[in-house]
Amino acid sequence: MALASAEGLSFAYPGAAGPALRDVSVCLAPGQVTLVLGPSGSGKSTLLRAFAGLVPHFHGGHFSGRVEVGGLDTRKHNPARLAGTVATLFQDPEDQVVFTRVLSEVAFGLENVGTPASEIEAGALEALAWVGAEHLAGRLVTGISGGELQRICLAATLALEPDLLLLDEPTSQLDPDAAEGLVELALRLSRERGTGVLLTEQRPALPLEVCDRVLFLDRGRLAFDGPVAQARTWLEQQHPLFVSADGDVGVHLHQPGQAACRLEAVTYAYEDNLLVVDGSSLELRRGEVVALVGPNGSGKTTLAKLAAGLLEPLSGHVERHGRATYLSQDPGRYVFCERAEDEVAVGVDGDLAAASRALAAVGLAGYEDRHPRDLSSGERERLALAAVLAPEPDLLVLDEPTRGVDPERKHDLAALLRNEPARATLVVTHDLAFAEDVADRVVTLADDRELAHA
C-alpha cells in the first residue's frame, strides 16, 4: 500500500508567471528513501510542501490534482492535522526554531499533536538520543553550532515518529562529515522504523549512494522516476554533472601572479575571547583560486573576513593590494534596492552599465528590473555574486557560494571564477566536489585551526 501519492499534481504560487509543478504523479512506499533532484527552481521544495499540506493551505495559489498522505487528502486536511503523519525538516534551521531551549524545541511538536503530558519529556529526550544530541537538552539554541542546530531540528521532526519524513536540502549548511552523519541517520531510521523519506539535495553524491529511488524534476515536470541504478545511467546521459564530480571547467593557463593578499600569523577572537583563528598564514595570488575547507566552527568564515578586511586581526599582519569584495553566506542580505540592477550597482557608485555586465556574467541578463526578493534562492545567490563581481575586485572572497545552487550552475560558477587572470579568489566552501572543481589550491582549516595546503 502506498504511504503517500500525488496524482496529476499541478500548482502555481499566487502571482507567479508559471506553475511550479506540472502534472506530477508519484507514489511513495513505506521505508523507501527517495531522492528528488533537479535544477534550482524546478519545483523540488514545492513537491515536498505539497506532501506536507503546506501547498496549498499555507501558500495559497492554484492547485489541481490530488495528494494523499497516510490516506488523508491534503486538500481536506491542513498541515497541522497532517503533522505527525508527515514531518518536514527545512533548509535553514534558524527559520524553524520556535523556542530558546533545546528540550522545549523538540517537545513543541509533541505538545501540538496531543501527546500525553507525562510522555512528552521522555519522547523529546528519546528523539535527541536518536540524533546523538541528548547532552544538548538543557542548552540554549543560540549557544550551539549550526550543525548541532540542524540535528536538533531533525530530532524535533523525528520526535513525531512520522510515517513520511520530508528533508528539504537538510545538509546545505553542514560540513561533509556532519552531512554524511545526517543522511546516514535518516537512512537508518527509515530502515529501522519503516519511515518513508523524501529528500532533496544539491550535493547528490552521498544521497545517491544510499537512496532507493530518484525523481528528477525539470521546470516543474517529472522528467525521471526510477530506481537509483537506472537513475545513474539516465543522469549520466541527460545531466552528467549531477553524477560526476569532474566538472572540466578548463585548464588554468595563467601562472599565479603577484600576491593580492597576504595574511601572516593572524589571530582573531570574538567576545568570548576564545581564539577562532590562531596564528594562520595564507597567501592569495592574482590568477589563482584558493578553496578554504574545514568542519563547521573551524574558523573559515572568520579567516575569509580577515582576508577581505571586514575584521581586523588581534595580532599578526594582513597585507592587501587593491580592492577586495566579500560575498556573504546569506544572499538575503543583498536586498537594499527594489531593482536587481540597482542592487548590483550599490558597490560601483550606481554605475548601471557595470551592474548590467555583472548580471549578464552570472546568467541574470534580463533580470535588471526584478525585485531581489522576488528571485528564487538560486537566483538570489547569483545576484549576490554579481553584486561583488561588479566592482571588478583584485581580491574576491566568497563565503559558501554554492548553497542552494544545482550542480550545473555550480559548474558555470566554477568556470566564471577561473576566468580572471588579474584577480585572486578565495572560496570558503563545504562542497568538496566544487572545491576540487574550481580551485588551484585547497587549504584545509582543521578543528585545531591549523592550515593544511594541498
Binding site: R81, D92, N112, G114, E121, T157, V346, V397
Partner: protein, 232 residues
C-alpha cells in the same frame, strides 16, 4: 523561580512605577530594575539598555520644550509658529524628570523580562491564551534577531566597499530589516504549522511544582501594585 510569578513581579514593579506619584519612588524602582538588567551578560543587555535609557533621555530632553506649564522660567527661546515661544520652566523640568524615570522603569522591567525569564517555560505554563503568550515570547526574540540581521546587512555593504556611516547610512538598513523580519516570520509560521501548531487538543510539557519563593514573588507583585497606588 518559575517564570510566571517572576513575570508577575516585574509587571507589578512596572505598574507601581506607573501608579506612583513621587519622583524619588519612581527613581528607586528604575535604579533597582537597572541593577537587575546590569547583571545580564554584556553582549545581550546592551540593546535593551540603549533602548530603555535612550528613550527615557529623549523624553527628558524634549518634554520641557513641548509642554507649556507655569513656574520659574530657566530659559526662553525663539517663538515658533503654531508651537509658540519655547521656554523651560521648573514645573516642566520636574515633570520631565518624573516621566523619564517612569518610562525608564517600565522599559527596564520589560528588559529584565526579556533578559532573565525563561520564555519557553512561560509559554508552556500558560493555561490560556497560549497563542498570545507564544506571540509575545517570539516578539521578545525579535530584538536580538534584528541585531544579528543588522550586523549581516552592514557586512554585506562593507563587503562591497560601502561603509554605512551616519544617520543616512544607517537609515538604509531599516527597509531590508523590516522586510527580512517579515520574511522570517512567514518562514517560522510555515515551520510551526508543519509541526502541528494550532491543532486542537494540544498538551503541555509538565511544569515543576510551585515553590515558596514563587508564592512570595506573586505576593510581592500584588503588594507592589497596592503600595504604588497608595503610598509611593
Amino acid at each position: 523561580m518559575r517564570p510566571a510569578p517572576a513575570a508577575a513581579l516585574l509587571f507589578g514593579l512596572a505598574a507601581a512605577a506607573l501608579l506612583a506619584r513621587h519622583t524619588f519612588s519612581v527613581a528607586v524602582l528604575a535604579v533597582g530594575l537597572l541593577v537587575i538588567c546590569l547583571r545580564a551578560p554584556a553582549s545581550r543587555r546592551w540593546p535593551y539598555l540603549v533602548g530603555a535609557l535612550g528613550s527615557a533621555l529623549a523624553l527628558l530632553v524634549l518634554t520641557p520644550f513641548v509642554e507649556r506649564l507655569p513656574g520659574t522660567v530657566y530659559w526662553t527661546g525663539p517663538t515658533i509658529p503654531v508651537v509658540g515661544t519655547l521656554d523651560v520652566t521648573s514645573t516642566e523640568l520636574s515633570g520631565a524628570v518624573f516621566n523619564a524615570f517612569r518610562l525608564a522603569a517600565v522599559s527596564l522591567a520589560f528588559a529584565a523580562y526579556a533578559l532573565w525569564l525563561d520564555h519557553d517555560r512561560l509559554v508552556q505554563a500558560a493555561g490560556f491564551a497560549r497563542r498570545s503568550v507564544l506571540a509575545v515570547a517570539l516578539a521578545t526574540r525579535l530584538v536580538p534577531a534584528l541585531e544579528r540581521d543588522a550586523v549581516g546587512l552592514v557586512e554585506a555593504l562593507r563587503g562591497r566597499g560601502v561603509e554605512p556611516e551616519g544617520l543616512r547610512g544607517r537609515a538604509r538598513l531599516v527597509s531590508p530589516l523590516l522586510a527580512g523580519s517579515l520574511e522570517r516570520s512567514v518562514n517560522l509560521a510555515e515551520a510551526m504549522e508543519a509541526r502541528g501548531f494550532g491543532r486542537p487538543g494540544a498538551t503541555r510539557l509538565p511544569q515543576p511544582p510551585w515553590r515558596h519563593r514563587d508564592r512570595l514573588a506573586l505576593v510581592a507583585a500584588v503588594a507592589a501594585v497596592v503600595v504604588g497606588a497608595l503610598w509611593l
